[in-house]
């Protein structure tokens, strides 16, 4: 368990540092101080989103192993299909672009960059006076996980590094074997379709684009990081292109659904956040 703890510690250290830097650089000290004010009220306001996300995460943590058995027995065995569909694309990516520097960068992105990418929007949108975006992000995360879990169960497939080890090197694990202790703790190697790394990263990227007026500095960072995560999933030999495409679809679907379900009117403008707030629709970029 020692390797696991050391990896966890380094993830926390990286994410903590990056969050601190990004909070100052993106949100700014003034807004942070200002935002600290009604933070409890806003958390209360977003309680449903938090609850939904927590519920999905708990179900995923508790039920995953039994759903895994269901997937093994009754899931669609899709490895052959996916492999027949795209063949050696991932092998080509590795053969064409692999350099030690890129491997190091993308390994870093896959673990640390990704964790930061998911954590920062929660902080950033919590600092906004209105909780609409925060709630949407939380719901979108929950949808990603929930739908992802359902698809993991319905589809049983192994990733490229497991199917063509002669052509696809498991770069992440050959480079950083300690990371494997963490990834195997949070997932199993048959959960490849869709790529949740892709879908969550793209979800964050999409939100960053949609909220570029609030955080113009975050948008390029988020888009760059999320695209790096997308590339990393294939470059490191973990996911198929098919998983990534499905991840994009899941991301856009989740964002759209989150916008549809989370109503901007029901937000608490006041820090106290009265539950029965029926203020008229005033959100300019409500895209229902």
């Amino acid at each position: 368990m020692t390797p696991l703890l050391s990896v966890l510690a380094s993830v926390l250290a990286w994410v903590g540092t990056l969050l601190a830097v990004a909070s100052v650089a993106v949100i700014g000290p003034a807004r942070l101080r200002e935002g600290w004010g009604g933070v409890r009220g806003r958390i209360w306001d977003a309680r449903r989103g938090v609850a939904v996300l927590c519920a999905v995460l708990v179900v995923s943590a508790v039920g995953r192993s039994s759903l895994q058995v269901v997937s093994e027995l009754f899931g669609l065995q899709a490895t052959a299909l996916i492999y027949a569909l795209e063949g050696g694309f991932v092998a080509w990516v590795q053969a064409t672009f692999a350099t030690p520097a890129l491997t190091a960068y993308l390994s870093w992105v896959y673990v640390y960059g990704y964790a930061f990418l998911l954590a920062f929007p929660v902080v950033a949108y919590l600092a906004l006076p209105r909780t609409t975006t925060l709630r949407r992000v939380l719901v979108a995360y929950a949808l990603n996980y929930g739908i992802g879990l359902a698809l993991y169960t319905a589809v049983f497939a192994h990733g490229p590094r497991n199917v063509m080890p002669d052509m696809v090197t498991p770069l992440l694990f050959t480079n950083r074997p300690d990371v494997m202790a963490l990834t195997s703790e949070v997932n199993v190697n048959t959960n490849v379709f869709p790529s949740l790394h892709t879908s969550l990263a793209v979800t964050v990227g999409t939100f960053a684009v949609l909220t570029r007026d609030e955080y113009p500095r975050w948008t390029p960072v988020a888009v760059w990081l999320s695209l790096s995560v997308v590339v990393a999933t294939m470059y490191l030999g973990i996911h198929w292109l098919t998983d990534v495409v499905a991840g994009f679809a899941l991301a856009f679907g989740s964002v759209a659904l989150a916008y549809r379900t989370v109503d901007p009117r029901a937000e608490g403008v006041e820090p106290s956040g009265e539950p029965g707030d029926e203020s008229p629709p005033s959100e300019p970029n409500a895209s229902d």
Binding site: T2, P3, S65, E72, Q77, T79, A80, L81, Y83, A84, F156, A157, H158, R161, N162, V163, M164, P165, D166, M167, T169, P170, F173, T174, P177, D178, M180, A181, T183, S184, N189, T190
Partner: protein
């Protein structure tokens, strides 16, 4: 008219053609013919995380089959699922896997693997569905014949099996393991490091390498002197006091959730269940020695009297002759007659089929009816795990799910995970977390750790020694108090864990990504032994076109065994033709791998790569056809 028209165009024109009067009959004649389609074959293999070698064989075969125009589906499934698919459901085209015996085995192992009498059974008995009288005859002959006659029968058997290729032997892997040598040694003995005998043969480093070395030398030399016995006894006693745990790491999580020695889909070689359950006899190389049996005696042509050692089950019940008699009946029919058709055990079938009857003579003696077979084969009959009657007789009913009996033609005994296994072996079950780890502990009551002096201070004769007949290297063993197995995600992390000193040895297969890592750590060493668990490509002979031995022969020739050894095994394997290549048997020259080439089904070699044209020509020669895009055609199956 002579120009070939694509099927789609033909169908499009069909309505028009049919409408035109006069040629309706002719149209029917054409439309009524089923078109030929491209041949589709599915290759099943386990993913690289589970086995880094097998998938590489599957990949090569997939590439070569694709090149000759077959539509290949390369399917990766977990280890349990692979064997469920192949052994239980027999729902496969091809698979890549390993044979179940890792120690060099007697040719009679082929009896269970290929005899047609098992064609309707599921499990490791004839999973290919081979039904060849020539093979059956030779299998029966090698059971009866002795000396030169048996050698001839075995030689002919190898030739026939290689000719027919119900499975293609690819290579015999080296049994590789990364070991941390500072706590246990004896890994290098000329046997499998991680077999039952290998694990029992380990010595604690703390006991002093001098004693261990002497004991090892003595046992390999075979001269068991009293002085050596004392030295070894001392080492054994020292092991008692060290209280060390042997920590192993594997990628195979099956042992953390299932301890059923007869569950074919959960066992790899059955090493750990082999430590939980004692057989009557064990083999180590050429040598067969009594284990749970104190001795056995051939009474006449068809009868064998087996006397038992004084032993107890892990729950305290005594091991009796009735348990032994029960075991043989049970392996033949796990339902004990409760279900209409017998449900034979999916493992040990070849061996248990040797024993036609078992009768209790007294508490410690059982009389086995073993029909007219030679000594070697008869001894094989004694190498099945003996099961406690009081546990397994409760599992003889038809298997049910939530109380409902479903028509799966199986018994509770076959599908049970066998929680809290009760065996009589040198290790007993301690605890497990499914998917993560399992721990076994030393059985303090086992005859290996009971010394003669305790029971009988006079030490009169052989019979007084509870370990009589057992080689000295196993006396006082195992050298560890606990055996803990942790499941890790891949061979790379397994090697890293050993390198960091968090484990003593790796159990599961190591691939070319992980082997080079072993040398990078000072205390870690690569230990290799020769494994008999050959990698093979198995064919479902029940299915066309795999039912055609000529077609299988062409597939066999698509396998570049030499390249597999280099690429998939990093050189840590030997290419082979005969499944007996690692056995202490004479291999006729006709089936001996020589000069980097297979004597019967040589690879279609074109300077290191596949000679596609030669392969296609071979397929054309045996009656197969290709369309103009080079796809291999077949009738719908």
């Amino acid at each position: 008219m002579t120009r070939p028209i694509s099927r789609r165009a033909a169908l499009a024109g069909l309505g028009l053609a049919a409408a035109s009067a006069g040629c309706l009959g002719r149209t029917e004649n054409i439309a009524g013919r089923n078109p030929r389609e491209q041949l589709t074959l599915e290759i099943n293999a386990t993913p690289a995380d589970a086995d880094p070698n097998g998938i590489r064989i599957a990949r090569q075969l997939e590439e070569h089959l694709t090149a000759v125009g077959v539509d290949v589906r390369l399917n990766t499934v977990g280890q349990t699922d692979l064997w469920r698919k192949v052994l239980i459901n027999q729902n496969f085209d091809l698979y890549v896997g390993q044979f179940v015996e890792t120690e060099p085995f007697d040719p009679d192992a082929l009896y269970g693997l290929t005899h047609s009498r098992f064609v309707a059974e599921s499990g490791w008995q004839n999973p290919f569905g081979l039904t060849e009288m020539a093979v059956d005859d030779l299998l029966d002959r090698q059971r009866r014949a002795t000396g030169r006659d048996r050698d001839d029968a075995v030689a002919a058997l190898q030739e026939t099996v290689c000719e027919l290729q119900p499975f293609s032997v690819v290579a015999f892997p080296d049994a590789l393991t990364a070991v941390q040598e500072n706590r246990f040694d004896g890994w290098t003995a000329d046997r499998q490091p991680l077999s039952v005998t290998g694990l029992l043969g380990l010595d604690p480093v703390a006991a002093g390498s001098g004693d261990g070395g002497a004991a090892t030398n003595a046992s390999t030399g075979g001269n068991e002197t009293a002085a050596d016995a004392d030295a070894d006894g001392a080492a054994g006693d020292a092991a008692d006091s060290t209280g060390e745990a042997l920590r192993l790491v594997t990628t195979d999580d099956r042992i953390t959730e299932n301890w059923n020695p007869i569950a074919a889909e959960y066992r790899k070689y059955g090493t750990f269940t082999g430590l939980l359950y004692d057989p009557l006899a064990r083999a180590d190389g050429d040598e067969v020695f009594p284990w749970l049996a104190a001795d056995w005696e051939r009474v006449d042509e068809t009868t064998l009297d087996v006397s038992l050692r004084d032993a107890r089950w892990h729950d305290g019940e005594p091991v009796t002759a009735s348990d032994v008699a029960f075991t043989y009946e049970f392996l033949r029919d796990t339902s004990l007659g409760n279900v209409e058709t017998p449900v034979p055990a999916p493992r040990f079938r070849g061996r248990s089929s040797l024993v036609e009857g078992a009768r209790v003579r007294d508490d410690a003696t059982v009389r086995l009816t073993v029909p007219d077979v030679n000594e070697t084969v008869a001894a094989r009959a004694l190498r099945v795990p003996i099961l406690p009657e009081h546990v397994w007789s409760e599992r003889a009913h038809a298997a049910t799910i939530a109380g409902f009996e479903l028509d799966f033609e199986t018994t509770e005994a076959v599908v049970s995970n066998n929680p809290d296994p009760v065996g009589s072996g040198p290790l007993r079950f301690a605890e497990a977390t499914a998917g993560e780890s399992v721990a076994f502990e030393r059985n303090p009551d086992h005859f290996l750790v009971r010394s003669a002096s305790e029971d009988d201070s006079d030490a009169v004769d052989e019979p007084a020694d509870p370990r009589a007949g057992i080689p000295l290297r196993y006396h006082g063993k195992p050298a560890f108090d606990r055996l803990r197995i942790d499941v890790l995600p891949s061979d790379i992390s397994a090697v890293e864990t050993v390198a960091e000193g968090l484990a003593d040895a790796t159990v599961s297969n190591l691939g070319p990504e992980s082997v080079p890592r072993i040398g990078r750590s000072a205390d870690t060493r690569l230990v290799s032994g020769r494994s008999a668990a050959f990698y093979h490509v198995g064919y479902n002979v029940r299915r066309s076109p795999l039912s055609n031995p000529r077609f299988r022969a062409v597939i066999a020739r698509l396998i570049d065994k030499a390249a597999v050894v280099d690429d998939a095994f990093d050189g840590y394997a030997q290419a082979a033709t005969s499944p007996l290549a690692a056995s202490p048997t004479e291999i006729p020259e006709s089936v001996t791998w020589a000069d980097g080439s297979d004597p019967i089904h040589p690879f279609f070699d074109d300077d290191g790569s596949l000679d596609v044209e030669a392969a296609r020509a071979a397929l054309r020669d045996i009656g197969y056809r290709f369309d103009d895009e080079g796809r291999l055609l077949s009738r719908g199956r």
